[in-house]
Amino acid sequence: MDINRVGGLGYVLREGDLVRLGALARHRDVELDEGIGSRCPMITDAMAVLGHVAIRNRGTVAGSLAHADPSAEWPALALALDAECTLMGASGVRTIPAGQFFQGFMTTAIGPGEMLTEMRFGLPPPGSGSAFVEVARRHGDFAQAGAAVVLAVDGDEISHARIALLGLGGTPLRAIGAEEGLIGERPTEEVLRSAAGLAVESMQPVDDVHASAGYKRQVGMVVVRRALAAALGRCQASQ
């Protein structure tokens, strides 16, 4: 089945703070949308390591979500953005949060006879910061571990935190305990370091031919720490 000729699905729309990506929106279309990149630089970070330009010219955001590779970039971005997925089928339309979309290894909530027609998310508010960091064996490869992070700081305290990890389980995973632990804290290096440790504690990566589970956990901690630091820097830069 090839949907490339279905009209009207290739949109990248910004309606105020809401971003809507149609089923045929290409990675490259999103990458080149300055309004998205300036408000949500973690998307720009992630596009830079998602394959290469020729791949991003053809590959779609919805395709990455529906494929649900746990090491892919978009599934983790979707979690960190609190995105919603619109599923359409003969029986109607339903919208489900990204947190319920990924159900297992390369398995999603898309039912028989349904297709993913749109992903939508709110841009993080001005004053917040986001970052995406991954480690892959070669530039453009699927990551061994990666993190998508959104932070907001109110006064001296962290007021919003999202940490989504890729490559550390059968699905992309939010580190909810680490997120909750950050709220109300002053964003010191020590606080970010301990959140990174907490984030990977609950993860259960598996050994594969390229890396042991222990290595992935270690790399996971490092990418979370780096993404938190980069996101915090962007919070401060935008204030």
């Binding site: 090839d2 394959g51 290469h52 330009v53 020729a54 053809r58």
Partner: protein
């Protein structure tokens, strides 16, 4: 699916380097095989045939794509640019090809068509340049001869000169 006619061949029409060409294609034939075996455009090279090496890169409606990862039928009606479209009909080299020659940016030449088309898309974006950006843009194309240094030099010069 009894009663449903199976379509296993299709007429594919593309504009290849500005010339409209049509040929029959097996519906599962890749765009790369179609260009080479049906249209005789053998300048597009196939290395890995699974999207890793970049040798088969062509431009589809101005954007770089791996022609080994697309079916010919998906390109029906599209504007395709291949390496054959770079030189003039009289044989004069394109500025990108001249820069590659000047900098000895190829040795065996197998990967070169893919590099040239990747660079054509890049230069059309009026890039800022810089070695890091050039290397990032070339990172989807593999070359086993040159060590990339001379390719980077050729492309950097093209960016500095504002070549098309």
């Amino acid at each position: 699916m009894s009663g449903v006619p199976v379509i296993d061949r299709s007429l594919v029409t593309i504009r290849a380097n500005g010339v409209t060409l049509s040929a029959e294609a097996d519906v599962r034939m890749t765009l790369a095989d179609f260009l080479r075996d049906r249209l005789g455009l053998t300048g597009t090279h196939l290395g890995c045939e699974h999207g890793v090496c970049g040798s088969c890169t062509v431009l589809l409606d101005g954007r770089s794509v791996r022609s080994c990862l697309m079916l010919a039928v998906q390109a029906d009606g599209a504007d395709i640019e291949t390496v054959e479209g770079l030189a003039t009909p009289e044989g004069g080299l394109h500025p990108i090809q001249e820069a590659f020659a000047r900098h000895h940016a190829l040795q065996c030449g197998f990967c070169t068509p893919g590099f040239l088309m990747t660079v054509k898309e890049y230069l059309a974006e009026k890039p800022a340049g810089g070695e890091a950006e050039v290397r990032e843009r070339l990172s989807g194309n593999l070359c086993r001869c040159t060590g990339y240094q001379n390719i980077v030099a050729a492309v950097s010069e093209l960016v500095e000169e504002g070549q098309p």
